[in-house]
């Protein structure tokens, strides 16, 4: 049967991989390529690269980074997000070597463009990245460029429920980088049949096991916390290996 996925999330800021905490604080890690090569060796199920300074600086997607990664002969599924403004951007991201594209600020800025991308490269190649938080216990969608919280738009939810976007990465941006803090309540807002990826504040195998037990969860993303120990992927997969997760 289909396995769930432990996903290595790499945040890139001015071309170096960084640890990101609460969407505001960053610590240097090193070259993204070396990190990615290492995750493949560790047997991670998928790699998501998020370039978080491309949209602000209007540089478009970091195609050079993607093709550098692909030219290493990477044999792990790669999804890229960051600076994708148009269909043309999305197609060139795929052409440079990524399987799927992650859309974040584009969903807010121009949802139609996102739906156009879905039509051309297929909904299965699209992940919606949604940093969410409870503000006065109301679920809000965080626009990380304008640094403001918005209502969760029904259009985005329709796009998801009508299968125009195959998977949604729910990012607990308040707890990102903080120890065992991912809030599961963020998931309840989405219909049971949605395919959700949980990310942000996942730091223990126990959390991974609990999250993987939730029906709508198809993958759990771990970022900072993969960098502290050798063979971290094995630690996080724990005894799920060979059952819920591939062996």
């Amino acid at each position: 049967m289909i396995k769930k996925r432990l996903i290595g999330v790499i945040t890139v800021k001015n071309s170096i991989a960084v640890q990101s905490m609460e969407y505001s604080h960053y610590l240097p890690i090193g070259a993204p390529e070396v990190l990615i090569e290492n995750l493949e060796r560790w047997g991670v199920d998928e790699i998501i690269v998020l370039s978080i300074d491309r949209s602000q600086s209007k540089l478009g997607p970091d195609l050079k980074l993607i093709s550098r990664i692909a030219s290493m002969g990477l044999t792990t599924p790669l999804s890229y997000g960051g600076g994708i403004r148009s269909l043309e951007d999305a197609v060139s991201v795929i052409q440079s070597g990524a399987e799927r594209v992650v859309l974040d600020s584009l969903l807010i800025k121009d949802l139609n463009q996102a739906l156009q991308i879905s039509r051309v490269i297929g909904a299965q190649a699209l992940i919606a990245s949604m940093p969410l938080a409870f503000i006065k216990n109301k679920l809000m969608h965080f626009d990380y460029i304008k640094k403001s919280h918005l209502q969760v738009s029904d259009h985005i939810l329709d796009a998801i429920n009508s299968r125009k976007i195959s998977e949604v990465m729910i990012i607990d941006h308040k707890n990102e980088g903080l120890k065992s803090s991912f809030q599961e309540e963020l998931l309840n807002h989405f219909a049971k049949k949605c395919n959700l990826i949980a990310f942000g504040g996942v730091s223990t195998p126990k959390q991974v096991k609990k999250l993987m037990g939730i029906g709508s969860i198809v993958g759990v993303g771990v970022g900072n916390f993969l960098n502290y120990k050798e063979h971290s992927v094995d630690l996080f997969k724990g005894n799920l290996k060979g059952s819920v997760l591939r062996s």
């Binding site: 049967m1 493949e40 039509r119």
Partner: protein, 204 residues
């Protein structure tokens, strides 16, 4: 014996980079042909594919690559389709709007039931001699929402999801092969699969 030359057809819809490097690591010369004479000179052809069927077919027709592929197929040299590339071999696809395919395989591309997506690592149950190389515990990376429905005893590997059991994941008949999963993105299993498939079809 000089290295065989594999051509990954470049028609603007496909993830060429990673497949190219994986094949090079396996010791093959790799080109990315798009013109007819380039395609003709390859020892074997890969047809990659990411995106929607109609767009891809249009791209093949505008560039005339569809004709080169048909000549290549008739020449008997091995041709391997990956994911959408495999689906393009079919007679017809219903993705977005009904579109004719290359018609190398008698079958139609339809949506997975309940519009479900098949994304992630899943087991493939192999049949025939490929069963030896792969225990059924081996998982490969899938990323599609349509599949090629066909009645043929040339289906050598099947996969299952909640909404549909045993749909075709690996097809092979004489010089034509197709896989619904991405071997170039399935780590060691994928490399092993590509290596043994190419050795078999190019009878290295």
């Amino acid at each position: 014996m000089s290295r065989k030359n594999i051509g990954i057809v470049n028609y603007g819809a496909g993830n060429i980079n990673s497949l190219k490097n994986t094949l090079q690591n396996l010791g093959y010369k790799v080109s990315t042909p798009s013109l007819d004479h380039e395609i003709r000179s390859c020892d074997s052809i890969f047809l990659p594919g990411v995106g929607a069927f109609p767009e891809a077919m249009k791209a093949l027709q505008i560039t005339g690559i569809d004709q080169s592929l048909k000549k290549f197929y008739r020449s008997g040299k091995p041709m391997i389709g990956i994911c959408l590339g495999f689906q393009l071999f079919a007679n017809k696809s219903h993705e977005i709007e009904p579109t004719r395919g290359l018609s190398f395989i008698d079958g139609e591309v339809i949506q997975l039931p309940q519009t479900s997506f098949h994304i992630g690592w899943n087991e493939v149950n192999f049949k025939g001699n490929s069963k030896k190389t792969f225990s059924n515990k081996n998982v490969f990376f899938f990323n599609h929402s349509y599949f090629l429905q066909l009645k043929s005893n040339n289906i050598l590997g099947k996969s299952s999801i909640k909404s549909i059991k045993n749909f075709p994941a690996f097809y092979k008949k004489e010089n034509l092969a197709g896989v619904q999963f991405h071997p170039e993105k399935s780590q060691e299993n994928g490399i092993l699969f590509l290596d043994s498939l190419l050795k078999e079809m190019l009878n290295d």
